[in-house]
């Protein structure tokens, strides 16, 4: 795509802006920031990737994965405000997921061990893990709030923290995985996923593109499950004080 053609895509931004002004949505500032950020971030990533692909240095690959995990963890940790040390627990859960996914993909020779496979697939896995981690924490907060009576009853009968939140945990893990599983059911029928679309536009054979998409969809499901379970096991104790009482947690977005 030429630079001129790329500039024309700003038309879409203008449409959004006009709607915002016309309907008094007050989103102009956010749209402007979003436009600039997405353009700069993506262009930057393009050049970084180009550089890394040429260098083929494993250290650089690891470095970029660390950056991805860090950004994803900080973002997901916003959903866990007020929980001590939640950032590290999220980082650990996402890292474990990424290691497992890459271990399986590379170990079974499903993908080649080159940056152009490892980085985009990791990016998608980590991104999905981030969304799942945020959903889980949000859901867990809601569950702990609404099941307060049940949790305290179990505590009053001498339950451990784990026993007291077991059911709330189960419901939260389930809720955090539902979007991924629903996505799996409708993929291809409702939406053509970005990666596949990109490959097709770039000239790949659609059947080949679909194979990779299947890989991604399956990997997403298990990465959602793994992230959710690990994060839950790491974080359920955070809802309690050291005296095994429920934390007084305020409702937050």
């Amino acid at each position: 795509m030429s630079i001129l053609a790329l500039s024309f895509t700003l038309l879409f931004v203008m449409i959004t802006m006009l709607i915002s002004v016309w309907q008094k949505l007050g989103l102009e500032r956010d749209i402007a920031i979003g436009t600039v950020r997405s353009a700069v971030q993506l262009l930057l990533v393009g050049y970084v990737l180009q550089f890394i692909f040429n260098m083929r240095n494993p250290v650089l690959i690891v470095l970029i994965l660390i950056v991805m995990i860090t950004v994803a963890s900080i973002n997901a940790a916003k959903r866990g405000k007020g929980l001590a040390g939640v950032l590290w627990k999220i980082a650990l859960a996402i890292t474990a997921t990424e290691l497992l996914m890459m271990g399986l993909l590379l170990g079974f020779g499903i993908i080649e061990a080159t940056p152009q496979y490892i980085i985009p697939i990791s990016g998608m896995t980590i991104g999905n893990a981030m969304v799942v981690a945020g959903l889980l924490l949000n859901q867990m907060r809601r569950e702990v709030e609404s099941s307060r009576g049940e949790i305290e009853l179990l505590l009053s009968l001498g339950a451990t923290a784990r026993q007291a939140v077991q059911d709330a945990m189960k419901r939260s893990v389930k809720a955090s995985m539902i979007p991924t599983i629903d996505g799996m059911k409708t993929v291809g029928l409702v939406q053509l996923p970005g990666m596949m679309t990109g490959m097709i536009i770039a000239g790949a054979n659609p059947v080949e593109a679909v194979r990779y998409q299947i890989l991604i969809v399956f990997a997403f499901t298990s990465s959602a499950a793994v992230t959710s379970i690990i994060l839950n096991l790491l974080s359920y104790r955070l809802w309690f004080t050291k005296d095994l009482q429920l934390q007084p947690i305020k409702e937050k977005g």
């Binding site: 009576g149 049940e150 305290e152 009853l153 179990l154 505590l155 009053s156 009968l157 001498g158 339950a159 451990t160 026993q163 059911d167 004080t241 005296d243 095994l244 009482q245």
Partner: protein, 245 residues
């Protein structure tokens, strides 16, 4: 011999901005297992005190000990198995009545004493209920009794009862009173019973703790409390217990 339960200088602040005390300087001791009625107008923090005793809420100050062992030093689980709180609002866990009654044995991997559960079902006037019935479908009064029974299965040394007969009809209420008195005699369980029913307090308790003016104002035998209350507040309360301060 060390007292069963000791409460020293306990204070709890309100949750609001200025953190004024809900109650403070609460001191009491249970030397021997006895039946205590915890009385006082609404809003004095009777439930909060029970929750603190059960280690479900943190006191802002003070010390609670059981047979000399401090609450802070004991594993909260171990503590709660000895000092068990029964909430005013009964919470039924999903599943059948029997599942609810088995909660304690499931949590602690102990054998389920079916005979005891059946006996108590009868004593509490619940013999008409099918154990397989869904616990959520019970009436309020039935839930309250199932919740009480579920806690009794733990056989705690101190039982903290928060208006556990509040939604019961007269007949069921008397059954619960009798069953708990019987339990106290046989098991030697101490009970602290929050109630607004003065007849009930007279009937079941040997000691009255009366809360007012932000503290535990009176601590005397039930007879002397009702015959010669020491404070004007208590005198007024005995005349019209439901009146707010």
């Amino acid at each position: 011999m060390l007292p069963l339960l000791q409460i020293k200088q306990v204070r709890k602040n309100r949750d609001d901005a200025d953190k004024s005390p809900l109650f403070s300087n609460v001191n009491a001791e249970i030397a021997e297992p006895e039946m205590i009625a915890l009385l006082g107008v609404s809003g004095q923090g009777k439930s909060t005190l029970l929750r603190i005793l059960a280690s479900l809420t943190r006191a802002d100050e003070g010390e609670i000990a059981m047979q000399g062992a401090s609450q802070h030093q004991m594993d909260p689980r171990e503590w709660r198995m000895k000092v068990c709180y029964v909430a005013q609002q009964p919470v039924m866990l999903g599943g059948s009545i029997e599942h609810n009654l088995k909660t304690v044995s499931l949590l602690h991997r102990t054998p389920y004493d079916k005979k005891l559960a059946e006996r108590l079902m009868g004593e509490l006037g619940l013999e008409h209920l099918e154990p397989g019935k869904h616990a959520q479908d019970l009436s309020g009064g039935e839930k309250q009794r199932v919740s009480l029974l579920r806690s009794l299965m733990l056989r705690p040394q101190v039982l903290l009862l928060d208006e556990v007969t509040a939604s019961l009809d007269r007949g069921s209420k008397e059954k619960v009173e009798r069953a708990l008195q019987e339990w106290h005699r046989k098991e030697g369980t101490a009970m602290i019973w929050v109630t607004h029913d003065l007849e009930q307090a007279k009937e079941v308790s040997g000691t009255v703790w009366f809360m007012g003016e932000g503290t535990l104002l009176e601590n005397s035998t039930t007879n002397s409390f009702f015959e010669r209350p020491a404070t004007e507040l208590a005198q007024g309360y005995i005349k019209s217990p439901e009146q707010k301060e």
